[in-house]
């Protein structure tokens, strides 16, 4: 469980939970509620090198497709295979069972430059 209070957030609504050089990535509770019914997730292949801000996964609702961007640079180390069996985990458990992938971080300063939980809450309020 990557509790929201301990995560960092990108403006594109991904969360990152970093520990050492490993960062787990998912989408925020706000994002899953906006997307509603997630019916398919396309994940990057492990080993793929990604740059911060690069589109590397796709979330599909009944109505539309949404790009998911790597919040930090590095190499994709693991992906959540459970999402292909049950994409609704993204809705049910966005910060836990609905995680997307993990990245072996190449630049540790990137994660700390993202918003913390309270900044993200402010960001959401300002956007509405």
């Amino acid at each position: 469980m990557a509790s929201p209070e301990k995560c960092r957030f990108a403006k594109s609504h991904e969360w990152v939970s970093a520990e050492g050089d490993k960062a787990v990535v998912g989408i925020s509770d706000h994002a899953q509620a906006e997307i509603t019914d997630v019916v398919h997730v396309e994940l990057p292949k492990p080993g793929r090198k990604v740059k911060a801000g690069e589109a590397c996964a796709v979330v599909e609702s009944v109505k539309a497709a949404f790009d998911i961007y790597a919040p930090v640079s590095g190499e994709v180390s693991e992906v959540n295979g459970e999402l292909s069996k049950d994409p609704s985990l993204v809705n049910q458990s966005p910060h836990d069972k609905g995680w997307f992938f993990s990245i072996k971080i190449s630049d540790p300063t990137e994660a700390s430059a993202l918003m913390d939980f309270s900044q993200y809450q402010e960001f959401l309020k300002a956007a509405h």
């Binding site: 509603t36 019914d37 019916v39 398919h40 396309e42 009944v62 497709a65």
Partner: protein, 367 residues
């Protein structure tokens, strides 16, 4: 939704807004795409029932001694089958055989018809009617701005509608009934756009709020859910029903849309008949064909369909099917002879996803 265009609102707009529905611009109308979730609303209609605000649809009243002759002239289907109390689904064509609109013509008495037309085409249709009506003893009146329309659809729709409009339950499929509702003249039709049993109630705007209230309160014990356009689209696509402007338009004929059953060439002359007869003689070059993904993924309108390396066409409507739990779609493919089961691919996010030709409708309710 853009702030610069003035969107039209139905008499139910305030109710939708207060319920927290997510509203979108649909052909210039501000309508709910979903109240809670497309999947939940879809499921409610397949297993219980749902109510849809379809007031954006147009209604044209056709009356007069030659109303039938006039309607026969501009429709592909045999409107004589719409005896009083009955309705028929039909296409209206241009001279090239392209579809001007798909409509439901209900007969509410001798020489008295209510034609339900699409939102995006109501004005175009009315001009089309006026142009052709000149040659007949007939009065054509656009009532679209005066009337609201609710669709109550699903296996438990009957008791809900019967409670509000007594006498509806015995209506056969495509039966219609004129009634008095809260002191006003209203129309009930056993029609719909979901592939389930159900009704559409057409009533004056003034009684819209009360009508909604009654539907929701009578629907409560039957599991009724307010539904948006999102579920309406997945329900109709599963049921193989056409969306005008997407699946059919002025450039495609009913034969190409695989809707030859709405064309009655033997009934007499009608606009577009010559073009259809010619197409029948020469054979089809393309046909609206069903596609179902064999792998997971969600196809969208515009996706390219291939057989091997050969491009066959692209999808005009596509979605994730909540009932079948897989990607489905329809597209004009230039191999009219394709049969269900043949292997094809659909391009999604630059990747070719395995699929097969599928029978349409994708879903058929148990009788």
């Amino acid at each position: 939704m853009t702030a610069t265009t003035e969107l039209r609102r139905t008499p139910f707009y305030g109710i939708h807004k207060a319920m927290g529905a997510r509203l979108v611009d649909f052909h210039g109308w501000e309508l709910p795409i979903q109240f809670t979730s497309i999947l939940k609303e879809h499921q409610a209609v397949r297993s219980r029932c749902g109510v849809f605000d379809v007031s954006h649809m147009g209604q044209i009243l056709v009356e007069g001694k030659q109303a039938l002759e006039f309607l026969q002239k501009i429709n592909t289907n045999d409107i004589a089958k719409a005896a009083p109390g009955k309705a028929v689904y039909s296409h209206m064509l241009n001279e090239k055989g392209g579809v001007v609109d798909d409509v439901i013509v209900g007969c509410y008495g001798p020489g008295r018809y209510l034609v339900v037309v699409n939102a995006g085409t109501a004005d175009k249709d009315f001009r089309w009617y006026q142009r052709h009506a000149a040659a007949f003893d007939v009065r054509v009146e656009n009532q679209s701005d005066l009337l609201c329309m609710l669709a109550i659809q699903g296996p438990t729709a009957v008791p809900v509608v019967e409670a509000i409009t007594p006498g509806s339950a015995p209506l056969p499929r495509f039966g219609v009934l004129e009634i008095e509702l809260f002191g006003q003249r209203a129309f009930v039709q056993r029609t719909g756009y979901t592939g389930e049993d159900g009704f559409e109630i057409i009533a004056p705007n003034e009684i819209a709020p009360r009508l909604w209230e009654e539907v929701v309160s009578h629907g409560r014990s039957y599991g009724l859910a307010p539904c948006g356009l999102g579920a309406r689209d997945t329900l109709r696509l599963e049921a193989g029903l056409l969306l005008y402007g997407q699946d059919i338009d002025d450039e495609h004929t009913p034969f190409e849309a695989n809707y030859g059953w709405v064309v009655k060439l033997e009934k007499g002359d009608f606009v577009g008949k010559g073009a259809l007869e010619r197409q029948k003689r020469e054979g089809l070059k393309r046909r609206l064909t069903g596609v179902a993904l064999s792998e997971s993924g969600v196809p969208r309108a515009g996706a390219i369909v291939r057989a091997g390396e050969t491009v066959l066409g692209s999808l005009v409507s596509a979605t994730f099917s909540p009932t079948l739990q897989k990607g489905i779609g329809v597209g004009y493919l230039d191999r009219p002879e394709l049969r269900p089961g043949e292997m094809i691919s659909v391009e999604i996010h630059g990747r070719r996803v395995a699929a097969e030709v599928a029978a349409v409708p994708f879903y058929r309710r148990e009788a």
